[in-house]
């Protein structure tokens, strides 16, 4: 089996487990829906222009529900010592990281793909002609969130107060991704040209590359026994 096949085996294992339990996806999706609904109550859309706050609400929904999924990601491996099993398989540790990371990325992207239409309905925003640029931003932003998120998820599952520690570790680190994603989503929703957000996208891309490499290299230190 070559390296990519090994990575794919881990991704496929997570997808199959998820199809059977539906635990991660359902909790993430319902939570993001709840965030969108709660924000509708806390901000009166009759008084506030939806375009002033929509991009922020969308990314709060994504990050908060993303945390739920990441928290679960390694918890399942911890139960029944699945992580031990993974580590005993004759594959490189970095392949485990990439597999888990891609799995988390896929779950979050599916959750977002369903949350965006609901968001459009609740906030009454038109996105028909902006779907592609919006998808690029969401993909890059989510990738940045998940690269570090998977690394920290493997870390927090081994310490006390794990559910609390993951957001405390992750949120300060992903501040640049959140700022850049919110700014560029806002620019897209208000109909600004694509050139306006290029520099933000480059920033997220730099973040993605830097932390993909760092996580890739340092993952073996995290799950070492």
């Amino acid at each position: 089996m070559n390296y990519l096949n090994k990575v794919w085996a881990i991704v496929w294992k997570d997808i199959r487990a998820e199809i059977r339990t539906k635990e991660i996806f359902s909790s993430m999706f319902i939570f993001s829906l709840l965030v969108l609904v709660i924000f509708n109550f806390s901000i009166d859309l009759l008084e506030v222009n939806p375009l002033d706050i929509a991009q922020g609400v969308l990314w709060i929904a994504f990050t908060f529900s993303g945390i739920l999924g990441l928290n679960r990601s390694f918890l399942f491996e911890k139960e029944n010592d699945c992580l031990q099993g993974l580590m005993l398989t004759p594959i490189d540790r970095s392949a485990i990281y990439l597999g888990k990371m891609l799995g988390n990325l896929i779950f979050m992207l599916i959750m977002e793909a369903i949350a965006v239409p609901i968001f459009v309905v609740l906030f009454n925003i038109g996105i028909y002609d902006k779907i592609i640029s919006l998808a690029i931003v969401i993909f890059l932003g989510t990738l940045g969130f998940v690269t570090v998120g998977t690394l920290f998820s493997a870390m927090s599952v081994n310490i006390k107060a794990r559910e609390v520690m993951l957001p405390i570790l992750l949120f300060p680190i992903v501040v640049p991704v959140i700022i850049a994603s919110v700014k560029s989503t806002g620019a897209i929703l208000t109909g600004k040209p694509f050139d306006d957000i290029i520099s933000w996208l480059k920033l997220i891309a730099v973040f993605d590359v830097v932390f993909l490499v760092v996580s890739f290299l340092s993952f073996e230190y995290i799950i070492e026994e």
Binding site: M155, I159, M165, I168, P172, I173, P176, A180, L203, Y221
Partner: protein, 224 residues
């Protein structure tokens, strides 16, 4: 011991410069003297986090407890100075800018830094003692520091109204400050750097004593 006395003398000399020799700034008045504490604290905080970064890399490479202790100690001392920056900043900003806090780039960066390293210390607190804690902390120490330039650019493009750093202007270094003020600032920078190394040394020896104590306890319990 000599180092302690040296620090004591330099700190006192810096205080004399700050409060007796340096002139009172014409526009900002007495409030400007906070800068002699604010800027050195910021420098020490950044430097301390850089020490965490280097010690973290060395720990993952060499796996020696020594580097873990240094990283931990530097993070603790760094958080103290980072807190000082966040406290002295608003005291200065209220009379000068008219607000305690504003989401300016440098303020935001310092706050994010503070949050990253508070998370670092919380991670150390919650993880169970041993090599696993050291490895987790080292990874966070590296990730956190590599994040600094990216956070910097993101908050810079976001918004900024911070006064341009006067001393570090490119055209002619030091042109923005009166020479006595510049000397005072440099004195203060040296004093704070010495305080940093003094505290770091104390914290490291404290941690080593703790290790030694645990070792003695372990041996005593096993032999009895």
């Amino acid at each position: 011991m000599i180092f302690k006395w040296l620090t004591f003398i330099v700190v006192n000399a810096a205080l004399i410069f700050i409060f007796m020799i340096a002139p009172i700034e014409r526009q900002e008045g007495i409030v400007q003297k906070i800068m002699y504490f604010h800027i050195p604290s910021a420098w020490v905080a950044f430097f301390a986090f850089f020490v965490v970064f280097v010690a973290s890399i060395l720990y993952l490479w060499k796996k020696e407890r020594e580097w873990d202790i240094i990283a931990h100690s530097a993070a603790e001392v760094g958080i103290i100075f980072c807190s000082l920056v966040l406290i002295t900043g608003p005291i200065w900003a209220k009379p000068i800018w008219g607000v305690w806090w504003t989401w300016d780039a440098r303020l935001t960066l310092t706050l994010v830094l503070w949050l990253i390293y508070v998370a670092y210390l919380m991670l150390r607190f919650h993880a169970s003692e041993g090599s696993q804690r050291a490895r987790f902390a080292a990874v966070l120490g590296i990730v956190g520091f590599l994040d600094v330039p990216i956070v910097h650019f993101s908050v810079l493009w976001w918004r900024t109204i911070h006064p341009k750093p006067k001393v570090l202007s490119m055209e002619s270094p030091g042109s923005g400050l009166e020479s006595v003020m510049l000397i005072t600032l440099i004195m203060s920078l040296i004093a704070f750097t010495l305080i940093f190394f003094l505290l770091l040394g104390q914290r490291i020896s404290l941690e080593k004593m703790r290790d030694e104590l645990n070792e003695i306890k372990r041996r005593t319990f096993h032999s009895s």
